[in-house]
Structure formats: structure tokens, C-alpha cells
């Protein structure tokens, strides 16, 4: 590993937020009651600048040798070694995607920090909030920088916990607590798969280090590869098992079907948190994980990749349908997040490894990047709206464009971006994805087209519902739109949402590290764009002004509407499994068994002894002659027994 002291500073990028967490966690209450916000903004912006510098140095100076981006490992120290081969190393791995993620995480996190400054003003646990944000940023950065599959698992867990803490930030709200628990437990369940996957892969690869593991498992012919493919379980090779299990972990974090149920509830957290964790960064960890191990997937287990593709596209369609029916604006955004992540997933799924085939990979990373920008923007905008209206429900909104001009414009930009209307960022990334899908999986392609139409529709349903439809009247909505910290992030992000599309992304990030030109064929673009426009027009027709068309349509497609409105009854299903099967059929019997059988045996032995001693008390009759009889019987028995022994 070419450890270069020049890049040692990278360790600071995650450590600065951690520092914030420690300071505010320990002393926040006393000393940083109000200043904690500013301090942590300074810290995070420092690490953002460092991240920028890192990106610059990596992409333009160090990273590329003879046209291929190499992975760089500035730091690596052994943390816990199980055997000679297997050891958890704490290291930093720089390669295109991790550097790109560095930028995304620090950038969005910075925006959210600034935004929260006024959004969370007056909260009594203000410092704790920033502490948690710091913790999350730290763990997320650690996750993206991980050089060791076990290291990524650790940060994976940490991210989960910080998300738990932030969802449950309003801990006195039962719904928030429930949502936090749900998020943690569901992802935990997925992580079990991840863990076992790690065990399988590491056992066969005889390493936990990413590069070595990839190198060994992605090159057919190595001993490890053949052992991984050779041994199997239920007729499926160990390698396939391992990779699918690892993907299970990713699916959990990225809310893929059927492990998605926690994401909508997670909206109980403060809106900026949703913007950071449940839109831009944490939820794409799954995509990142698959991308991290992409060579292994695409070279050694294309079947798994195919599965990923279908899961991704179905999730995205499914989420889009639900999103059309929700009325809580944050939930709508949550489902749209699910759907967009679905895009990224199937983009990976339909991608090949080298050269032109790698389009899907690059496209998915590209979409990850742009999505982070405009989805964060959407959430923050929603935050402003909620801040202003004091409600999440669309029925309390409408006609806000006059009261919230800035938000209105930025929100519109974001909506256009996500609907894939040129020249906004979303357009470019989505085009590439569709192109990749079109080349590899026609079915996926058509479903994706449908989904992007739906996307445009529900986003503009949201937009019109908030800013148009009916004139706004709300007594306890206060005067002005918001202070500088509230609006600055919106503006900055909207610039990103407009401009990010023009980045030649393929030059930086591609599956094999070589430069990949991402062409745009106008002919190809016509269909998706027109579908998007169609969706917008339908939304305009239905929601631009208040009318009864939506209800008529809803009642026309009653069944579909209701089931979509109830999220296709997934929560109920899970409830049935846990409350209906796990608790009464496993937990209760176990507890009962322990109290009555195992413990009962112990008590029974005691009472048995007592009983015997009561039974035989007649022996001690208190009369001399029976005693003598016992004496005599004893003598006779013993002598007879002894004679018997002696004769034998």
C-alpha cells in the first residue's frame, strides 16, 4: 500500500465532525448552549474544504496514473487481528467513488448544518442535535472511506445508530420513538445478512481488505475464487450467497423492497435530518456498497447483479405509485427518494464492468451525485414550508408562492431536475441510466420510463399542491419567509441542481477507472423527456387549481388507490409477522418454558426431597422397641448381604 504522508490530512475530514460530537456531547449543555451551531458549522466547513482539496488533488494530481484512477491508501493500521490473514484494519481508501462521496457528504452536511441553525433555533437540546449531526457525519465519512469490509460494517452500524438517535430526536413523541426503533431494527435485520455475507466472503477470500478481496474474488482462477465458487449451499455457490447477503445489508440501508418500511416513518425526525440522512447520504450507502464491490458482482456473480437490477426497478416503480397518493409532503419525498435509489440500484444492475459496458455504473454514481443535490434541496424547501405552515399535510397548504418566493423558485427547479427536464441535473444522470438499461434490459428500461413519468407527475402534484391550487389562508403562520441561514442553502443547492449536470462525470468516475465518455443522443432523449412533460401536464390539469378531478379519479380506481394509499399493506404484514408470530409463538413459549419447565425442575427436586423426608418420618417413632427392630433388621440384612457377597 502506497501510504503517502501528503494525504495524511484526509483523516481530519471525518475526525473534525467527531470532535464536534465529543465536545457538544460532553459539555454542550453547559458551555455551548447556543454557540454549538456556529462552532460545528466551522468544523464541518473545514472538513468540506479539506474534502474539496482532496478531490482536487486526487482527480487532477495524484489519482490518475497512465489514464486509470488508482486506489490510494494513505493510512492503514491494524485494529483487531483475528488470524494472520483476517484482521480488521482501520484505513482510508481513496478512489473515485469515495472521493465523490466525500464531497457529497461534507457538502450536504454543511448545507444542513447551516439550515438547521435557524430551523432548530430555540430547541432546548440544540447542542445535542449538533452533536448527533456531527456523529452522523463522522460515521458516514468513515463509511465511505473504509478500506476494509469489516470497517465498513462497523461504520454501517454507527450510521444506523446515529440515524436512530436523530429520528428519535423528539424523544417525547411516541411516534418518533417508534419510528426510530423501527428504522434501527429493520436495518439491523438487514445487517445480519451483511455480517454473514462478510463471514462467507472473508472465509473464502482469506482477507477482509477491500482491494485484496476484490482482486482475489474478481479474477477467476485464483485459489480463493475457485474455493468460493466450488463450495456451496443448497446448490448455490458460496460466492453468490455471500454477495447476495451483502446486498441484503445494502438493501436494508437503501430501503429496497421488502426492507423499505422504515424509511417513510423515519420522516418523524427533524426535516434537515431527513434531508441529510434519509435523502442524500445514508440511504445511498447501499448503492455505495454495491459499487464498492462492483467488480466482484459484475465479474463473478452476474446473476446477483441481475437480481439487483430487478429489485431496484420494482422498488422504484412501487415507491412512485405510492408517492402519487400520499398527502404528507415529507412522505411523498421519502417515497420519491426510494424510487430514485431504485434507479441507482438498477443502473448498477444493468451495468457491465469495463469500457462502454460500464455506463450504468458511472450513470448510477452520477445520479447519486445529482440526486443528493436536488433531493436535499427538496427536503430543505419542504422544511421551510413546514416551518412556515406548522404542518406536513398538503391540505393545510396551497398558494404559498406569494409568501415563500425563494422557496417557490428553488423548489420548482428541484422538481424539474428530478423529473428529468433538460437542462437540469437530473436529466443528464437519468438519461444515462435509461440508456444503460435500454442496452441491457429492455423490461427494466420500459418500467423505468413508466416510473420517470410517475415521478414527474407526483413531484408536480406536490409542487402545485403546495404553491398553487388554492389561495393561502392560515392564521398562525408568521410573516416573513425565513432568515439568511434558512434560504442560503436552498439557493446554493439549486445552483447545484441546475449546473451539476454539465460535469463530465464519466471522466472522473467509472467502473474500471478509465475515462468514459457519456454521450447524449437527442433521438433517445425524446421519449423520456416527453413522458416527463406529460406527467407534469397531467399534474397541472389535476392540481393547478382546486377541483374535484383527483377525487373522481381516485374513486374510479378505488382498489389501486386505497392499497397504494396504505402502502400496499407492507407495515401490516410486518406487524402480523412480529406481533402475530414471533412474540406469541416463540417469545412467550420460551419465557414460559423457562419459568415452568427448567425452573420448575429445580423447585420440584427441592420439594421432592422435602416430601421424602416427610414420608419417612414414621421411622423415628419415639418408641424403643421399634428402634431395636430396625437395629435387628439392619444386622440381619447386612450379614445376609455380606454372606451373599462372600459366597460370590
Amino acid at each position: 500500500m502506497n501510504a503517502m504522508p501528503a494525504t495524511i490530512y484526509i483523516i481530519l475530514i471525518p475526525l473534525l465532525p467527531l470532535l464536534g460530537f465529543l465536545i457538544f456531547g460532553l459539555f454542550g449543555k453547559k458551555y455551548f448552549k447556543t454557540s454549538s451551531g456556529l462552532v460545528s458549522i466551522i468544523l464541518i466547513s473545514l472538513s468540506f474544504l479539506l474534502a474539496l482539496y482532496t478531490a482536487y488533488t486526487y482527480f487532477f494530481i495524484l489519482g490518475r496514473t497512465d489514464g486509470v484512477y488508482q486506489a490510494i491508501k494513505p493510512i492503514q493500521l491494524t485494529w483487531l487481528s483475528f488470524t494472520q490473514a483476517l484482521s480488521i484494519d482501520m484505513g482510508i481508501l481513496l478512489d473515485p467513488i469515495s472521493v465523490m462521496m466525500l464531497l457529497v457528504v461534507t457538502g450536504v452536511s454543511l448545507m444542513v448544518h447551516i439550515f438547521s441553525l435557524s430551523y432548530m433555533k430555540g430547541e432546548e437540546r440544540f447542542p445535542i442535535y449538533y452533536a448527533f449531526l456531527g456523529l452522523f457525519t463522522f460515521s458516514m465519512l468513515g463509511l465511505v472511506l473504509s478500506s476494509n469490509i469489516f470497517q465498513i460494517y462497523m461504520f454501517w452500524e454507527l450510521v444506523g445508530v446515529s440515524s436512530f438517535l436523530l429520528i428519535g430526536y423528539y424523544y417525547d413523541r411516541p411516534s418518533a420513538v417508534a419510528a426510530a426503533k423501527k428504522a434501527f431494527i429493520v436495518t439491523r435485520f438487514a445487517d445480519l445478512g451483511f455480517l454473514i455475507g462478510i463471514l462467507v466472503l472473508s472465509y473464502h477470500a482469506q482477507t477482509l481488505d477491500f482491494q485484496t478481496l476484490i482482486q482475489r474474488l474478481a479474477t477467476p482462477g485464483t485459489v480463493q475464487f475457485s474455493s468460493a465458487v466450488g463450495s456451496g449451499f443448497l446448490g448455490i455457490s458460496a460466492l453468490t450467497w455471500g454477495l447476495s447477503l451483502v446486498f441484503m445489508g445494502g438493501a436494508g440501508k437503501s430501503a429496497m423492497m421488502p426492507l423499505h418500511i422504515w424509511l417513510p416513518d423515519a420522516m418523524e425526525g427533524p426535516t434537515p435530518v431527513s434531508a441529510l440522512i434519509h435523502a442524500a447520504t445514508m440511504v445511498v450507502a447501499g448503492v455505495f456498497l454495491v459499487a464498492r464491490l462492483f467488480p466482484v458482482y459484475s465479474i463473478s456473480a452476474p446473476i446477483v447483479l441481475r437480481m439487483i437490477a430487478f429489485i431496484g426497478v420494482f422498488t422504484s416503480l412501487f415507491a412512485a405509485i405510492i408517492a402519487c397518493t400520499q398527502t404528507d409532503i415529507k412522505r411523498v419525498l421519502a417515497y420519491s427518494t426510494m424510487s430514485q435509489i431504485g434507479f441507482m440500484m438498477f443502473a448498477l444492475g444493468v451495468s457491465g464492468y469495463s469500457g462502454e459496458d460500464g455506463l450504468g455504473y458511472a450513470a448510477s454514481q452520477f445520479h447519486l451525485f445529482t440526486h443528493a443535490l436536488f433531493k436535499a434541496l427538496l427536503f430543505l424547501g419542504a422544511g421551510v414550508v413546514i416551518h412556515y405552515v406548522h404542518s406536513n399535510e398538503m391540505k393545510d397548504m396551497g398558494g404559498l408562492r406569494k409568501q415563500l418566493p425563494v422557496t417557490h423558485i428553488t423548489f420548482l427547479i428541484a422538481c424539474l431536475a428530478i423529473s428529468g427536464i433538460p437542462p437540469f441535473a437530473g436529466f443528464f444522470s437519468k438519461e444515462e441510466i435509461l440508456m444503460a438499461a435500454h442496452e441491457h434490459e429492455p423490461l427494466v428500461y420500459w418500467l423505468a420510463i413508466l416510473t420517470s413519468g410517475l415521478t414527474a407527475f407526483y413531484m408536480f402534484r406536490l409542487y402545485f399542491g403546495i404553491f398553487w391550487s388554492k389561495p393561502f389562508r392560515n392564521e398562525h403562520a408568521h410573516g416573513h419567509e425565513g432568515t439568511f441561514p434558512l434560504l442560503a442553502p436552498l439557493v446554493i443547492l439549486s445552483i447545484g441542481a441546475v449546473g451539476a449536470g454539465f460535469i463530465p462525470f464519466g471522466h472522473f468516475v467509472s467502473a474500471d477507472g478509465r475515462i468514459l465518455e457519456m454521450p447524449l443522443h437527442v433521438g433517445f432523449s425524446v421519449l423520456p423527456v416527453s413522458v416527463g412533460v406529460a406527467g407534469i401536464l397531467i399534474a397541472f390539469w389535476l392540481y393547478q387549481t382546486k377541483n374535484d378531478r383527483p377525487d373522481r379519479i381516485a374513486s374510479a380506481w378505488k382498489g389501486l388507490y386505497r392499497s397504494a394509499y396504505h402502502k400496499f399493506y407492507f407495515d401490516e404484514l410486518y406487524m402480523a409477522v412480529t406481533k402475530g408470530i414471533l412474540f406469541p409463538l416463540v417469545g412467550k413459549p420460551a419465557a414460559w418454558f423457562d419459568r415452568n419447565i427448567v425452573d420448575g425442575a429445580v423447585n420440584a427436586s427441592a420439594s421432592l426431597t422435602q416430601g421424602v423426608s416427610d414420608r419417612i418420618k414414621g421411622m423415628q417413632s419415639g418408641r424403643v422397641q421399634p428402634y431395636a427392630v430396625y437395629f435387628l433388621i439392619g444386622v440381619l440384612l447386612l450379614s445376609f448381604f455380606l454372606l451373599y457377597i462372600w459366597i460370590r
Partner: protein
């Protein structure tokens, strides 16, 4: 250093406590003694790291005691025992601190605490089976009295149950030890662990003796189905009592299973390993599921102890170096974590006078410090990275995955499921207690942790973090010793 100090100091402390002029002086003496012991333990650790690699046992010293029975006070430590001693020292200090304000007969209380710790220290440093057994039993009666006199709930019943089951365990151990003594070549009978380790015992004999020793020690560390003293005992014991029980006493068993049963009878261990593994897996899952159904915080933690100690036995049963190391990690980690948890539960109980989860809620508002500690304990117990539990459990998983056959794989995965169940019940307990709206109005008036409670909690948290953030030192400490054990096991085959 001369290891005698590790048992003489508690002895002196105990006397000081007993002879202390005023009852409220007792706690001062015991705290002083415990702290001094902690310092000595740390010193021992440092010296051990410096002096390591000359033979398996460090700081050996030999004193004749009963020459006609070949019994001697043979002291010596290896990495595992050093780790255990450190754990004990931490828990003892915390326990004394937590029980700073015991009103009822403080003198006797602290005397018994110190006596219990004396037993533990002696157990961990003795290389002679007789003295080992002596110290093992020495620790039984203090537990009985602590629970019976200072306990709560159906304390007499629990105390009796605990004392009798542990006594049964040690009876089995005694039989095993005597059998070992006579299993050696005639005349050369000895209780000396190092000597017994040298001469190899025929497999048939090992098959007989191993279950005696393993079950005997296993009862101490909640081997299914001999674990039922754990829930009752822990739940009725006073705070410090539960801390010592779960933090120290259960570790005596695990240590014994490893050091005596497995190390001295490797063939027996290999012969019974599958049985042990199955029992351990049952304990892990079944304990976890049983925990899910409990409503009393102490019961929750007690049952989770059953589940967690299952990992210790699983690691030992797997008989791979990594797994055994993991078992030792789990012992240390579980000791610290569960002691912390019990301490916190005690703090909560002192204030709310209830341990029923349903009665609580929203305590985070009034008791921020205590609830934070509770969260840390809970997260450690569900194996969050950065805290000790993660390190231990992952090591056990890694180690058991080294076994190739499908059955082991299945069992490992089954054990893995427990980390999900653990998450469920921990979040249920902690979430219900700390989060949500404030359950009762009178909870408003509660005062957060006092200095001694804070100190106790912080000490234990430091221990947990030290392992969780930098496991390599513990690894370096333990691995050489586990390697030796493995070498013996492999060479015996």
C-alpha cells in the same frame, strides 16, 4: 510482582472494614482498598506486558500448604487471568461506589463485598486446583448473604436457590478435581494445574471427568439448562450484588471451563464440543427470546446475561483459537457491560422505586446522565461498534466460522440472529424507560446521578470504551495464552 498481594490486600481491607470504628468509615476503607487493588491490577497488567514471553505463566510463586496432599499455594497468571483480574478490579470499584449510601448494616455489606472480590482474585491467580476450588467456594456465601439480607423481592428464595445451585456446581467441580488427582499416575497425584497439564490422561478418563468439571463450572456461568439461578438471583440482589454476580461471579465459571476443564482435558473437550456448542446456541437464542418477554428491567438484564454468556460457552466449545479469544473478550466485555447496566438499573430503581418497564417513560428529561449511561450499556449489549460487545461477539463469530461443517455454520448463523433479537429487547427496554412522554408527574422532582454514581458509571464506561475503541491491546494480552491452550488441544489429538 508477587501475586500474593492480590489476595492479601483484600484480606486487609476486609479486616479494616470489619474493625472500622464507625459504620460510615467502612465504606471509606473498602473504597480505598478497592481503588488500591485497581491500581495494583493496572500495574500488574503493565508489568505483564513488559515481562511477557518467558513461559506460559508469569509471576509464578509457590508456597507449600498441605504437602501430604501435594497441595500448594501455586500462584501465577497468564494473559487471560490478567484480563479477568482487570475486569474484577474495575467492577469492584464501581460496585463499592454504587453502594456508597447503603444504610442497612454498611459494615457487613462492604465486608462481604470485599470478601467476594477476594474470592475472585484468588480464583484467578491460583494455579493449584485445590486453592482454586477454595476461592471458588469462598465466594458463594457472601453472595448468599448479600442477596438474602440486602436484597429485595423474594430474596430468601432467590438466595437459597443461588447458594444451592452454585454449591451443586462446586460439588461437581470438587468431584472432578479429586478424580483428576487420582487419574494421574499413582503416587504422582497432584492438584497442580501446571503438572497435571504436563502428563496426559487417557481419553476414557477424560470423557468421565470433563463433564463433571465443565457442568460444575458451567452452572456458574449459566450453562443451559442450569441457568435458572441467574434471573432470580440477579433480580433479588442489591445493586452491587447483581453487579458482582454478573460481572465477576459468572466469569469464574467461564474461566474455570476454559482453564481447568478445557485446558486440562483437551480430549474430553473435543469429544463433548458439539454438545457444548448446541447447548450454548440454545442458551443464546432462547435466552434472547425469553428476555423479549420480560417486563422487569433486572430480569431483562439477567436473561440477556444468559444469552450473552452463551457466547462465552460457544466460543469455548468451538475450540478454535479465535473463538476462544472471543470467549475471553466476551467474558470481559459482558462483565463490564452488565455491571454497568445493573448499576444504572439500581440508580433508576432508587428513584422510581419500580423496575417495571411499563411504569417508566421519558426519564431522559429528568435523568439525562443516567439514561445516557443506560443507552451506552444497552448499545454495548446489542453489539454496537466502538463498544466492547461488538468486538467480543464478532471475534466469536469469526472464530466459529472457521469450522467448516454445515452444522457449525448453521449454529453460528442462529447465534447471529440473537443480535437482532437483542436489538429488539434492548430498544424496547431502554426506549420505553428513557424515551416517550414522562410517565408520572412525580418523576419531575428526581435528581440526576450523584457523584459516586457518576464515578462508578464513568469507570465502567471507560473500560467498555477502552476495549471497544482499541481492542488490539486486549488482543495482544489474551491471544498468546489462547494460543497455548490451542496448542495443547491440537497436540493432544
Amino acid at each position: 510482582m508477587n501475586l500474593l498481594i492480590l489476595i492479601t490486600l483484600p484480606l486487609l481491607t476486609a479486616f479494616a472494614v470489619l474493625l472500622s470504628p464507625k459504620p460510615q468509615h467502612a465504606r471509606v476503607f473498602s473504597l480505598a482498598g478497592a481503588t488500591l487493588q485497581l491500581l495494583i491490577a493496572v500495574l500488574l497488567f503493565l508489568q505483564y506486558r513488559a515481562s511477557v514471553s518467558n513461559g506460559p505463566w508469569a509471576f509464578e510463586s509457590m508456597y507449600d500448604w498441605y504437602p501430604s496432599w501435594h497441595i500448594g499455594l501455586h500462584l501465577g497468571v497468564d494473559g487471560i487471568s490478567v484480563a479477568m483480574i482487570l475486569l474484577t478490579a474495575f467492577v469492584v470499584v464501581a460496585g463499592v461506589l454504587v453502594s456508597w449510601n447503603v444504610e442497612k448494616m454498611p459494615k457487613e455489606f462492604h465486608f462481604l463485598l470485599i470478601l467476594l472480590s477476594l474470592g475472585a482474585y484468588g480464583f484467578f491467580i491460583s494455579l493449584d486446583l485445590f486453592t482454586l476450588f477454595f476461592f471458588l467456594e469462598l465466594a458463594v456465601i457472601p453472595k448468599y448473604l448479600l442477596i438474602g439480607v440486602w436484597g429485595s423481592g423474594k430474596k430468601e428464595y432467590s438466595a437459597n436457590k443461588l447458594a444451592l445451585m452454585l454449591m451443586a456446581g462446586s460439588a461437581l467441580v470438587l468431584i472432578g478435581i479429586l478424580a483428576l488427582y487420582y487419574a494421574q499416575p499413582a503416587g504422582a497425584g497432584s492438584f497442580d494445574l501446571t503438572l497435571i497439564g504436563k502428563n496426559n490422561i487417557p481419553e476414557s478418563t477424560q470423557k468421565v471427568i470433563f463433564p463433571l468439571l465443565f457442568v460444575g463450572f458451567g452452572i456458574f456461568t449459566a450453562l443451559f439448562p442450569f441457568h435458572t439461578w441467574v434471573p432470580d438471583g440477579h433480580s433479588s440482589a442489591p445493586t452491587a450484588g447483581s453487579m458482582f454476580l454478573a460481572g465477576i461471579s459468572m466469569k469464574l465459571g467461564g474461566y474455570g471451563c476454559l482453564r481447568v476443564a478445557t485446558y486440562l482435558l483437551p480430549l474430553g473437550a473435543t469429544y463433548y464440543s458439539n454438545t457444548i456448542i448446541v447447548l450454548a446456541a440454545i442458551a443464546i437464542l432462547y435466552g434472547a427470546f425469553a428476555t423479549m418477554m420480560q417486563n422487569d428491567l433486572k430480569y431483562i438484564n439477567a436473561y440477556s446475561s444468559v444469552s450473552h454468556c452463551g457466547f462465552v460457552l460457544l466460543g469455548i466449545g468451538m475450540l478454535t483459537k479465535t473463538a476462544i479469544t472471543g470467549a475471553v473478550f466476551q467474558m470481559v466485555s459482558h462483565g463490564l457491560m452488565t455491571a454497568l447496566f445493573f448499576a444504572v438499573i439500581g440508580m433508576v430503581y432508587e428513584r422510581t422505586h419500580t423496575r417495571l418497564v411499563a411504569q417508566m417513560g421519558g426519564l431522559m428529561k429528568v435523568l439525562p446522565f443516567i439514561t445516557t449511561i443506560m443507552f451506552i450499556a444497552g448499545l454495548c449489549s446489542l453489539g454496537l461498534p466502538g463498544l466492547s460487545g461488538f468486538v467480543a461477539e464478532m471475534t466469536v463469530f469469526m472464530g466459529s466460522w472457521e469450522k467448516v461443517e454445515t452444522i457449525y455454520r448453521v449454529i453460528t448463523i442462529a447465534a447471529g440472529m440473537s443480535i437482532v433479537v437483542t436489538a429488539v429487547y434492548i430498544l424496547r427496554a431502554v426506549g420505553q424507560t428513557a424515551m416517550g412522554p414522562l410517565a408520572h408527574e412525580e418523576y419531575k422532582g428526581y435528581r440526576d446521578a450523584s457523584w459516586n454514581e457518576k464515578l462508578a458509571a464513568i469507570i465502567l464506561v471507560l473500560g467498555i470504551l477502552a476495549i471497544g475503541l482499541a481492542p488490539f491491546w486486549l488482543n495482544d494480552l489474551v491471544t498468546p495464552s489462547t494460543e497455548l491452550i490451542m496448542k495443547k488441544i491440537l497436540s493432544s489429538k
